[in-house]
Amino acid sequence: MTARTLISLLPQLILLLTALILLGINLIRGDDKRTHGWLPGVALVGLAGAVVAIVYLWTTTPPAPPHPILGKMLLVDPFALFLQLIAVAATALVIMLSAGYMRSRTADPGEFYALLLIACLAITLVTAATDLLMIYVSLEMLSITSYILTGYFYEDIKSTEAGVKYFLFGATMSAAMLYGMSLFYGIARTTNLVAIAQGLSGPETSLRGLVTPALIFLLAGFGFKIAAVPFHQWAPDAYEGAPTPITAFLSIGPKVAGFAVLLRTLLIALPHFYADWVILLSSISIITMIVGNLLAIFQRDVKRMMAYSSIAHAGYMLIGVACWTQGNPPGPFDGLSGVLIYLLAYLFGNVGTFVVIVALEEATGSCQIEDYAGLVSRSPLLAAAMLIFMLSLAGIPGTGGFMGKLYVFGAAINVRAYALAVAGIITSVIAAFYYLNLLRYAFFQPPEDMSPIPVSAGIKVALTITGLLTLVLGLYAQPFLQLAQRTAHCLNGAPF
C-alpha cells in the first residue's frame, strides 16, 4: 500500500473516521441531551472534509488514466469522484434535514448520523469499484445500513415494517445478483471487470450464451438499487415508512451507487455485448417511465408519490445508459453525460422536495397531499421552493430538470432511439400532471388551518442550496455540462 493509494482513499478515510468519532461520542456522552445538538455538526464537518479531499483528488488527477489500486479492486477516476461528490452532497443535505426531525422523534439519534456516514462511505466505495467482489461487498454495506436506517424508529410500526420489507426484498435481489456474478466468474474465470472484458472478447469462450442470463441476474441487483421496474416494489413501502430524511437519502444515494456499478459493468466488462444489453435496458427504461409515472398519479401520500416519481426518474436516466455509443467521442448530447447531468439535477430537485416535505411534516405531522392545501398562505417560502422543485422534476425550462431531460432526450435522438425519446416525452406530460396536482393544493386550495409554518434554520439553508442550484443548473448549465462531459469522456477511456 503506497502513499498514493492512501491519498486516493482520503475521502473514505475521513468519512470512516467521522463515523467512528460519532459512535465514540455517542458511547461516552449518549445520555446527555445537549450532545444531540452538535452531533449533526460533527457529521457535517466530516462531510466537508470529504468534499475537500474529493476536490483535491480531482484537481490533482494526472492527465493519464489513473491506475487501479488495492489489487485492482478500486479505480479512483473522475467518474468515481463526480459521483462521490453527489453522494457526499446528498448526505450533507440529509443531515441538515435530520437535525430537527430526529431531535423531536427519538431519544437516541447518536447512531443515526454514524450510520448515515457509513452509508455514504459505502456509496463512495461503490462508485470506484472495478471488481465484482468489491461491487458486491460495498453494495451490501450500503444495503445493510439502509435497512437499519429505514427501520430506525423501532417503536414505530410503519418504520419497522418498511425496514423489514426493504430487507427481505433486498436480500432476494442481492442473492440473484450474487448468482449472476458467479456465472460471470464461471464464464471469464475472473471477477475483475477489465479482465472479464478481455476474457469475453476471445474466441475460445464457449460459454458466451450464458452472458445474457448472467447479466439479467446482475441487473436484478443493480435495478433494485436504482429502483427500476420490475425491481422497484420495495420503494413505495420503504419510502413511506422510513424517517423522512432517510427517504430523501434513499431517493438519491442508492441511485448513485446503482448507476455507478451499472455503467462500470456495462461499459468496462461488456462493451462487446452492447447489442444485447441495449435492448434490455431500453425496455426496462420504457417500462420504468410508464409504470412509475402512471402509479404516481394515484398516490395520496407525498412520500409514496415521490417513491413512484423516483422510479420514473430512474427510467429517464436509463435512457442515457441505453444511448451510450461505443467509441463515440462525447460531444454534445452523449448518453453518458446525460446520466450524470440528470443525476445532478435530480439530486437538487428531489432532495429539495424532501426538504419541503420534512418542514411540513415537522409542522403538521402529516405527509398527505391534502395537507399541502394553502401552503402558499402558510409559508410562502416553502411554497415558492416547492414550485421550483416540482417544475424541475417535471422538466420545465429554467430549472435543472429541464437540462437533464433535454440532454437525455437529445442523446436518444442522436442515436436514433426514437422509441425512447417518444416514450420519455409522453411520460413527462403524465408526470407533469401529478407534480401540478401537488402545486394545485399548495397554491389554489384554501387551507383548513391558517397557522403559519415555522421553518428552522437548517431547513432554510438546505432549501437555499437546493433551490439556487436547481435554478443555476437550469439557467447557466455550462460549467456543469462541461464537467459532466469531461467525466463521461474519461469513463470512455480518454484522459480527463
Binding site: 433535454l406 394545485r440 397554491f443 448549465a477
Partner: protein, 517 residues
C-alpha cells in the same frame, strides 16, 4: 442605447419582478405603480425598435449572439425583423394596459400577481426576439407557469380545472416541439433559427421532414389554437382574471402563429406546401376553426366565452393566410401576380395577429368592466344598457365593429388582405372561409350589440340577475385603459401602412428566401 436593446426589453420586466420581491407586502400601491413604471421601459423601447426597423424591415435588427451553453451548442441569439417588432409593440402595449387596469381591480395578493405578470412579460418578449431554438423554447415555456398560476389563483369559479387543462394542453404541444427541435438540431448541427432555416432540414427526406413538421405543428397549433386543439382555450380564457384573458388572447395565441411564420414556414417550405396545397389539411383545419368558432359564438350566452370562441375563429384567419402563403409555393414559380398574392396573404395573417390582439384585448377588458358591475356574464341578464351606460356602449360598439371587420377600423384590413391573398391561391377555402365573416357580423350585432345594449332597459330583470348591483358608466381608469386601444384601431383602420409597412418588408423577404429553395 447600444446593440443590447432587445435584451433590455426582454429582461426589464424580470428585473422589475425581482425588485418587487423586496417591496414589503403591505405597500400594495408601490407594487402597482412600480410595475406600471417598469413596463414603460419595454414599451418605450418597442417604439424605438419600431422606428428603427421601419427603414429596412426585411432584415434582422439589433442582433445579439453570446455563448450560453456551448457544451450543447446553445447560444443566446436575439434579433428582430418587421414581424417581431410589431409583436413587441403589441405585447408591450397590452402588458402596460393590463397592469394599469389591474391596479384598480386586483385587491388580493397584489405582490404575487405583479411578480407573475412581469415574469410572463419577459417570457413573451423572449419568444418574439429569440433566434435560437432552445432559447425560444425556454421563453416559450417560461410563460406557461405564471399564466397557470394567474388563472389558478385569481381566476373564476372553475379556475383550477381551467388552469390545469391549460398547462397540460400546452405542455403536450411543447414536448412535441422539443422533439422536433432536437430532430432539426441533429440534422443541421445548429440551434440557430436563421442557420437552420438556410440549411432546410430534411430537404432530401420527405417522411422525416413531415415528422418534424408535425412536431412543430402540434406545438404551435395547440397554442394558436387551431381546431381540433382548441378546447383548452374557452376554459382558460373564461376563467382567467380580466388582464389574464387580455394577455392570453392578445399575445399568447400569437406565439403559436409566430412560430408558424418564424420556424415552420422557413424550415419546411416543401412539407408545408404539401399539406397546404396537395393534401390541404392545414387550410381545412383553418377554415373549420373560422366557421366552427363563429358558429359556437352564435350559440353562446356567456359573454366571456363568446369572446373566447371568437378568438378561435379569428385565429383561423391567421392560419388561412399562412397556409395560402405556403400553398403558393406549389404554383408556378416567378409568377409575379401570384407572389404578390402570397405576400398579401402573409401580410394579412401577421396584421390579423396584431389587430386581433388589440381588438380582442379590448373586448376582454370590456367584458371585465361589465362583469365588475353585474357579476354575471350571462347575456340574457342584459338588455337596454345603451341608455344606462352610453360611454361603455360607444366604446364597445367601436371595438365590436373593429372585430367584425368594418372598413375604417383595424380588423377590416387584416381580413381583407387574408382573403385577397388566399382567393388567388386556394380559392375554395377562401370562399368557405368568407362564411365566417358573415357569421362574425351576425354574432357581434345580434349577441353583443342587440342583446346587451338595445331595447328597453328593465330594472327588474337586471336586479334579478345581478342581485341589485348598482350600474354606473365607465370610470376614468377604465377609459384610460380603453382609449389607447380604440386609437390604435382607428389609426390602423385609416392608415394601415403604419403597421403593414413593417410587415410587408419582412414577409416579402421571408417568402423570397423560402421560394428560392
Amino acid at each position: 442605447m447600444g446593440t443590447n436593446v432587445l435584451s433590455i426589453i426582454t429582461f426589464a420586466p424580470l428585473l422589475g419582478a425581482l425588485i418587487i420581491l423586496f417591496i414589503p407586502r403591505e405597500k400594495e400601491d408601490w407594487i402597482r405603480w412600480w410595475s406600471i413604471a417598469i413596463s414603460l421601459v419595454p414599451l418605450g423601447l418597442a417604439f424605438f425598435v419600431y422606428g428603427q426597423v421601419r427603414s429596412a424591415p426585411g432584415q434582422m435588427w439589433f442582433q445579439e449572439a453570446y455563448e450560453w451553453v456551448p457544451a450543447i451548442s446553445v447560444y443566446y441569439r436575439l434579433g428582430v425583423d418587421g414581424i417581431s417588432a410589431v409583436m413587441l409593440l403589441l405585447t408591450a402595449l397590452l402588458s402596460t394596459l393590463s397592469y394599469f387596469y389591474s391596479a384598480f381591480t386586483i385587491k388580493e395578493r397584489v405582490k404575487e400577481y405583479y411578480f407573475l405578470f412581469l415574469l410572463l412579460e419577459t417570457g413573451m418578449f423572449g419568444v418574439f426576439v429569440s433566434l435560437d431554438l432552445i432559447l425560444f423554447y425556454v421563453f416559450w415555456e417560461i410563460g406557461l407557469v405564471p399564466m397557470y398560476l394567474l388563472i389558478g389563483v385569481w381566476g373564476g369559479e372553475r379556475r383550477i380545472y381551467a388552469a390545469i387543462k391549460f398547462f397540460l394542453y400546452t405542455l403536450v404541444g411543447s414536448v412535441a416541439l422539443l422533439l422536433a427541435i432536437l430532430g432539426v438540431y441533429f440534422q443541421t448541427g445548429t440551434f440557430s433559427i436563421l442557420e437552420a432555416a438556410a440549411a432546410h432540414p430534411f430537404a432530401d427526406n420527405f417522411s422525416l421532414a413531415a415528422l418534424a413538421f408535425w412536431g412543430f405543428f402540434l406545438g404551435f397549433a395547440i397554442k394558436v389554437p387551431c381546431f381540433p386543439f382548441h378546447t383548452w382555450l374557452p376554459d382558460a380564457h373564461t376563467e382567467a382574471p380580466t388582464a389574464g384573458s387580455v394577455i392570453l388572447a392578445g399575445v399568447l395565441l400569437k406565439l403559436g402563429a409566430y412560430g408558424f411564420i418564424r420556424i415552420v414556414l422557413p424550415f419546411f417550405p416543401q412539407v408545408f406546401r404539401f399539406y397546404a396545397y396537395n393534401l390541404p389539411l392545414i387550410p381545412i383545419l383553418a377554415v373549420i376553426s373560422m366557421v366552427y368558432g363563429a358558429l359556437v359564438c352564435m350559440a353562446q350566452w356567456d359573454l366571456k366565452r363568446l369572446i373566447a370562441y371568437s378568438s378561435v375563429s379569428h385565429m383561423g384567419y391567421v392560419m388561412l393566410g399562412i397556409s395560402a402563403a405556403a400553398a403558393s409555393l406549389a404554383l408556378e414559380r416567378g409568377h409575379a401576380a401570384l407572389s404578390t398574392s402570397a405576400v398579401m396573404a402573409l401580410n394579412g395573417a401577421t396584421l390579423q395577429m396584431f389587430t386581433h390582439g388589440i381588438i380582442t384585448g379590448g373586448l376582454f377588458f370590456l367584458v371585465g368592466i361589465i362583469y365588475e358591475r353585474a357579476h354575471t356574464r350571462d347575456l340574457r341578464a342584459f338588455g337596454g344598457l345603451a341608455s344606462k351606460v352610453p360611454y361603455y356602449y360607444g366604446i364597445t360598439l367601436v371595438t365590436g365593429f373593429a372585430s367584425l371587420g368594418l372598413p375604417g377600423l383595424a380588423g377590416f384590413w387584416s381580413e381583407f388582405f387574408v382573403f385577397r391573398g388566399s382567393f388567388h391561391i386556394i380559392p375554395v377555402f377562401a370562399a368557405i372561409g368568407i362564411v365566417a365573416v358573415v357569421l362574425t357580423a351576425a354574432y357581434i350585432l345580434w349577441k353583443v350589440v342587440q342583446q346587451m345594449f338595445l331595447g328597453e332597459f328593465q330594472q327588474s330583470k337586471w336586479d334579478a340577475a345581478t342581485h341589485h348591483a348598482p350600474l354606473s358608466d365607465m370610470t376614468w381608469w377604465e377609459k384610460v385603459t380603453m382609449w389607447p386601444l380604440v386609437i390604435v384601431m382607428v389609426l390602423v383602420g385609416v392608415f394601415p401602412s403604419v403597421i403593414v409597412a413593417l410587415l410587408n418588408g419582412a414577409t416579402s423577404a421571408l417568402l423570397l428566401a423560402v421560394s428560392s429553395c
